[in-house]
């Protein structure tokens, strides 16, 4: 009988071993490991649209310009950037910059990349924004001239696109053959699994310190926490749930770096809804939400209460907009005035009912339920409905919602007001999902787009922010903090407002030169 058991067990073990032989050997231990939440679908700068790709691309590619930590655009592959007139941009390129394939960067590569992206037939995400581009030319190997059809003040923000060598820029599908001028080159890209980068020794700013960087795709938040606790990861940026920060801080092997962020969370109203089209109701809701309590309990204090889209350090931030501090009595009075008396005071009957749509994200759901409870205290019945992301987002765009909450990540250029609040930007043409229509705001936005003078533009942006806050199009909730968890023993990582991993090129082991 014993022999029989042994035979069965050995058969089972053989089966297990047969299954295991397909495994690859482990990664090189030298790699610096970064956990990311979801897989970039492509690392081709012409097509990359998702946040995760956009954050990794600066390691592989340089653009003509780049954003400095305060969000201002400064030359990158360009050495000078001039505007002889309002519709022409002339950029002189750095000389001696090498692509990962060894060839030298010239103006022809820039022209090829932009011409490909601007052609709507290629389906690149930036093609719409490049519509005002009339031509891009290379009068000599180190000069690029962009000519625009009309004055377009936010055109420079499009000059950050990663440049490909001419031979690849004209090709439709690059697959893994992404070749840039960045400090790292792509060593392996296994979608859904990992992205491995290796240092590019001929980088024009000198070779980076870390030899290899391995981005591991770990969709499950608990798994990411367990990985960094067990030593399986070296860096997590904005990828841990707020509740975990407290115990990560107690881990002697980890350093937690919290810095003010720019991700803006808000409650959006459908301004065409029969109840919500009354600005008094929208204001009442804003007064009824206790942001401080939400930040303290749902986010463990890791956010700053927001008043407008751009945080105080941004040049277009208006410090003087109408605000809605927590005031439930005022909210009740406003609702009474709007013609929705509370049938039974503090009793269970409600003034009216609203639905609040959200995704299935855990924190978003917690926040939604707390807000529903807070609105319940002023007599508004709220039903929280959570949907799979694609369905939720599609409903929001179609205007099939009353209340919803979303977040804007990486807003930099205030020209985004056109996209968010102009009456011409109601979906599908833009992201004015609340169907907000104010002719005065439209006029200011239009004027800002034609105004090259930065001071005058700033004044217009101030007015727009004031009007939007007065009309209570959004309830501004908070700007989320950036939370970086870094293994001790490394130094030099600098969080950027958009969450880009650019500064990984400067990370080095402590004590190293």
């Amino acid at each position: 009988m014993g022999a029989r058991v042994a035979r069965i067990v050995s058969l089972a073990v053989a089966l297990l071993a047969a299954g295991a032989t397909g495994c690859r050997t482990g990664p090189e231990p030298a790699a610096f490991r970064v956990g990311i939440e979801s897989t970039p679908t492509t690392l081709d700068p012409r097509y990359a649209a998702g946040a995760h790709a956009v954050r990794i691309l600066p390691l592989l590619f340089h653009g003509l310009l780049k954003a400095d930590p305060s969000g201002r655009l400064v030359p990158d592959l360009a050495v000078t950037w001039q505007q002889p007139d309002e519709r022409t941009h002339v950029l002189r390129l750095r000389q001696g910059v090498r692509f990962h394939d060894g060839s030298e960067l010239t103006a022809r590569d820039v022209v090829a990349t932009y011409r490909y992206v601007a052609d709507p037939a290629h389906g690149c995400p930036a093609s719409g924004a490049l519509e005002p581009l009339r031509s891009v030319e290379a009068p000599d190997p180190y000069t690029v001239v962009f000519r625009l059809k009309r004055v377009y003040v936010s055109f420079p923000s499009l000059l950050t696109l990663g440049i490909l060598p001419q031979g690849l820029a004209n090709r439709k599908d690059l697959g893994d053959r992404v070749v840039g001028t960045g400090p790292y080159r792509l060593a392996a890209f296994r979608p859904g699994e990992e992205i491995v980068l290796e240092a590019f020794p001929e980088h024009f700013e000198g070779p980076p310190s870390l030899e290899r960087i391995r981005f591991r795709i770990i969709p499950n938040a608990t798994t990411r926490l367990l990985e960094i606790r067990s030593g399986g990861l070296d860096l997590l940026q904005n990828a841990v749930p707020p509740y975990s920060v407290r115990f990560l801080r107690r881990d002697p092997n980890l350093q937690v770096i919290v810095s003010p962020g720019t991700s803006y969370q808000y409650i959006g109203f459908n301004c065409e809804d029969p109840i919500l089209k009354d600005v008094r109701v929208r204001r009442a809701i804003a007064y009824a939400v206790d942001r401080q309590a939400l930040i303290r309990f749902a986010l463990d204090g890791l956010a700053r209460p927001a008043t407008t889209l751009f945080p105080p350090e941004h040049w277009a931030h208006n410090p003087d907009v109408p605000t809605y501090p927590y005031d439930p009595d005022r909210a009740r009075r406003l609702l009474d005035e709007a013609g929705y008396p509370d049938p039974d005071g503090p009793g269970p009957a409600v003034r009216f009912r609203l639905s609040y749509k959200t995704s299935t994200d855990k924190t978003a759901n917690e926040v939604a339920r707390v807000i529903a409870e807070q609105l319940g205290r002023v007599g508004i019945g709220v039903e929280v409905r959570s949907f799979e992301w694609g369905t939720f987002f599609s409903d929001v765009k179609r205007g099939d919602f009353q209340l919803m909450s979303l977040r804007w990540i990486g807003l930099r250029d205030p020209d985004v007001f056109h996209y968010l609040f102009h009456s011409a930007s109601v979906p599908p043409r833009g992201a004015n999902r609340g169907r907000y229509r104010n002719p005065q705001v439209d006029a200011w936005i239009d004027e800002s787009r034609r105004t090259p003078d930065p001071e005058r533009r700033r004044e217009l942006y101030f007015r727009i922010q004031q009007a939007v806050a007065r009309d209570c199009v959004y309830v501004s909730l908070w700007w989320l903090d950036n939370v970086v968890v870094l293994r001790r023993g490394y130094t030099g990582f600098e969080p950027l407002p958009g969450g880009e991993y650019t500064s990984l090129a400067r990370v080095r082991p402590e004590g190293a030169p």
Partner: protein
């Protein structure tokens, strides 16, 4: 019987392909929005929709897809801009590996436990195996996985937390995925073995002087395995769906994680490709179960 099964395979798979095609196109959301982001202007979106063939009537898209499948062309993934077949080929080995290991774990646990419980019916061993099986069936994968990781990876540091590397990375996902199946098989094996052990042909065998070990492991077990094989074949489907959860917990780069991404991104060809492969796997496993049945029960062969 096997031949008849093979013949029914074609309409089954065709039905699945059709159903999935219709379902993914009915779900709200649009791959073009995912690709271009919202900033794109409507003309560009229309151009891309035309390029992807999404502007054609649904029936035409369906027939085009079917024609491709017959030729072995599963189309191109919208998100990844690569052939679907290439993406699937990269993921199938990982899922097969995990499923095979989970099956092995299930058998290693279930056979000794089930046999012990049946032989010592109504003793502490039997009751212990009952409690263990109840726990095994009830504990959800998304809880068991992190619990095992906490114990064996974070504290003891025996195995990696997640990812697919050497054999050690397979252990915890396989146990997580195999536990529920092990529990179910233990109960099945115990009850069918209890029934068989009382049968007259075993008394006859014992009377002929056959040793108790041979009676149990050859004469009894072979008959007791019949219902177990049936259940095993049916349960392979739940193994595959459990793999979706387990793969997510362990960042295992298999079909499950690929399917989830494809659904979130409304990547129609990729969703269809994943479901096609999974349903083929399901049908294939059931064929194997039929074959195993013939081995265990000569009556079926007639």
């Amino acid at each position: 019987m096997i031949r008849r099964r093979l013949v029914t395979l074609v309409p089954t798979v065709l039905g699945v392909v059709t159903l999935v095609f219709l379902l993914v196109h009915l779900v709200p959301g649009d791959p073009v929005d995912v690709m271009l982001g919202e900033t794109a202007n409507p003309a560009d979106k229309a151009a891309l929709r035309a390029e992807l063939g999404l502007d054609r009537p649904l029936a035409e898209q369906y027939l085009g897809y079917l024609a491709g499948v017959v030729r072995g062309d599963l189309g191109r993934s919208i998100l990844y801009r690569r052939p679907v077949a290439e993406l699937l080929a990269a993921r199938i080995p990982a899922t097969l590996e995990l499923s095979a290991a989970a099956l092995a774990v299930a058998l290693i646990l279930a056979v000794p436990l089930g046999v012990a419980a049946a032989r010592r019916k109504d003793t502490a061993v039997d009751r212990g195996s009952l409690v263990a099986s109840l726990l095994g069936v009830s504990i959800p994968n998304f809880w068991l996985g992190p619990l095992l990781v906490l114990a064996f990876s974070v504290h003891l540091r025996w195995f990696p937390v997640s990812g697919r590397g050497g054999w050690d990375s397979l252990v915890l996902p396989a146990i997580t995925l195999g536990t529920a199946l092990a529990a179910m098989l233990t109960r099945m094996l115990r009850s069918s073995l209890v029934e068989v052990l009382g049968a007259e042909y075993l008394t006859a065998a014992r009377a002929r002087g056959v040793g108790e070990g041979r009676v149990l492991w050859v004469h009894a077990l072979r008959n007791a395995l019949l219902p177990v094989i049936t259940v095993l074949g049916l349960q392979m489907g739940s193994l595959l769906s459990g793999a979706v959860v387990t793969e997510a917990v362990f960042s295992w780069p298999g079909l499950g994680t690929l399917l989830l991404q494809a659904i979130h991104g409304r990547d129609y060809p990729l969703v269809q490709g994943c479901v096609l492969v999974i349903s083929l796997g399901y049908v294939g496993v059931n064929l194997l179960a039929d074959w195993a049945y013939r081995w265990a029960d000569p009556r079926v062969r007639r």
